[in-house]
């Protein structure tokens, strides 16, 4: 298979940017550290205080953010390729709202701990994904029906979430709103381990399916003629993508729009058609880390959850995407 040099270069450049963003993110906070100090501490030659702040507080948070971004970026790329639609991403089809319903049920009704909340989110997200897919099914789910059904389902689930928030006492309500927004605050090694395990299995699996996925984008018939087992490929890829997005959501809440925008931005940078899986994954990580940095340092003493920043920026990005897609006559 021909290796696209531009794609490789872009991915490498993004990777460098991710590492730089990670160092800056780790260095910022109530106890600011220069990039040099951060690197020194990471390589084991910092003061004990620096070691504690970096290794116990900020590094796990940054790594969770990184993996969440990777999972959302690559998961979104698969969604968009399989639906052959720039907007067929988990954000638009109600996945986040479904995960929120699951998590909120645990928070508000069962007062469960973080692990139970994560479990609730995964169940809610998976059920929503399956439900939207079934509702949109009519001899295939291509085209915009999936998107519109997703918008409808999302509206219903949002109502359920709002009901749960009004039902809660103020403490649970605050926790619920914070969770629904998507936050990396207080994430530690306990979240990192499971997320890493999921990513370690599924990301290589999806990358290995890169070629069949690219053929699948040309249409089922063409892919079949070229020897792709269409249905099984699609099921494996979608299941992996759904699980990745669910795992990311369980770890950090529904961080909006990373899954939508990362693959699109990656495609624009690499200028190659088709699913730029690797570039999308790294772009997702970059977006998440930069958004987290903005959320924690741009508002003075006040810190916002990262999902607020991605929500606002992502909403604006989606509007821009609509404008350009219309100019290009694609929508």
């Amino acid at each position: 298979m021909r290796v696209d040099r531009r794609a490789v270069l872009v991915t490498a450049a993004l990777l460098v940017a991710v590492l730089a963003a990670g160092v800056v993110l780790i260095g910022s906070g109530d106890y600011p550290m220069s990039p040099g100090d951060v690197l020194a501490t990471l390589t084991g030659s910092g003061t004990p205080a620096q070691e504690f702040i970096v290794n116990d507080l900020r590094l796990p948070r940054a790594l969770v953010g990184l993996l969440v971004g990777v999972a959302l970026g690559i998961g979104g790329a698969v969604f968009q390729s399989v639906t052959r639609n720039a907007l067929g991403s988990p954000d638009v089809i109600g996945f986040g709202q479904g995960a929120s319903v699951g998590a909120l049920c645990v928070i508000v009704l069962l007062h469960g701990g973080p692990a139970a909340v994560a479990g609730g989110a995964i169940v809610g997200g998976l059920a929503t994904g399956a439900g939207v897919y079934l509702l949109a099914w009519r001899r295939g789910v291509h085209g915009y029906r999936l998107v519109l059904v997703g918008i409808g389902v999302a509206a219903v689930l949002t109502a359920v979430n709002q009901y749960l928030v009004t039902k809660a006492n103020l403490v649970d309500a605050t926790r619920a709103v914070l969770w629904m927004t998507g936050s990396l605050d207080g994430r530690d090694w306990a979240q990192f381990g499971p997320l890493l395990a999921v990513c370690a299995v599924l990301v290589p699996l999806i990358l290995a399916y890169g070629r069949p996925l690219r053929l699948l984008e040309m249409g089922d018939d063409a892919a079949h003629a070229l020897g792709v087992r269409v249905e099984s490929t699609r099921i494996v890829l979608m299941a992996s993508a759904v699980l990745l997005v669910a795992a990311a959501t369980a770890a950090a809440g529904p961080i909006a729009f990373v899954a939508l925008s990362a693959p699109q931005l990656a495609r624009r940078l690499t200028r190659s058609p088709g699913p730029n899986l690797g570039a999308a994954a790294v772009m997702g990580a970059l977006l998440t880390l930069v958004a987290d940095w903005i959320a924690t340092s741009a508002f003075g003493e006040r810190q916002l959850p990262v999902g607020v920043v991605t929500g606002v920026l992502g909403g604006c990005y989606l509007l821009w995407l609509l404008v350009t897609e219309r100019k290009a006559g694609r929508i």
């Binding site: 638009v92 915009y144 389902v153 509206a155 009004t166 709103v177 927004t181 959850p305 909403g315 509007l319």
Partner: protein
Amino acid sequence: MPAEPPPARRAAARAAGLLLAVAVLLLVCVASIAIGAKSIPLDGVWHGLFHSAGTGDDVIVADVRLPRTVLGLLVGCALGLAGAVMQALTRNPLAEPGLLGVNAGAAAAVVSAISFLGVTSLTGYVWFAFLGAAVVSVLVYALGGSRGATPVRLALAGTAMTAALFGYVNAVQLLDSAALDRLRFWTVGSLASADMATVGKVWPFIAAGVLLTLVIARPLNALEMGDETARALGASPARTRVLAMVAITLLCGAATAACGPIVFIGLMVPHLVRSLTGPDMRWVLPYAAVLSPVLLLGSDVVGRIVARPSELQVGIVTALIGGPVFIQLVRRKRMAQL
């Protein structure tokens, strides 16, 4: 195509239908006054409305249920008309103030007013809600509504707008937990805190919006046939669009300021109405004005019944009913070919 009855008989049938709809609306209003955490028998309702002597039931009727019902009437009417006008203006079956982010715009402006400017009065909310509703209507219309837009574009423009604006609303709530406590009820959409003062403040705006929509009914019909034909028929497309936007802003801004963002009323009712009356806006608008409050008040009553002794906010009930209707619309064959 089925044989059309002669115009005079058709008009008579439509007028009779409208009367029937008014009768249904009256029934729903009575139900809205009678049914609740404490149900009140019909003679009690009558007593409380017309011969109030200050008994417990009389107070509930006069101070709680009546304002709530009147506000539901006003807000339902406003949202239904706004939806009908939007669908005509954009020639788009999925247009709806809630879906298109107009309510979110009003919500974002109100939240800013509460948190940053310390606005606490409803009078203050209303003006900010207008501002937000106006800005977002113009933006969404420019992005997705004007010539040649598909329903998907419009729905997505609204979704994007809603996402960005509610992201902002969330941010404000998180930075200001006192605001969260006030806003978490307001952002759901509820009639529960209605009182006559609220009604007194919003009715002039809604009345103005209603009058405006009735004035532009005929030009909107002309606009359906394209700008050229509309001009030939003596309707100015540009003026009609501006007036329609003003009407939408007045209606959505006032409704949202009074009881928070309520979705799907403006989507469902005009669809139902068009299947009854056909596309003529001179009939669609009055029908929508009468049947939308039926749906809103009906949802409010249902919300009070199913969650007794507490209640389900009406915005939640309308979303739970409206979401499936929306999905059904989308699954229709015509829409499937988008």
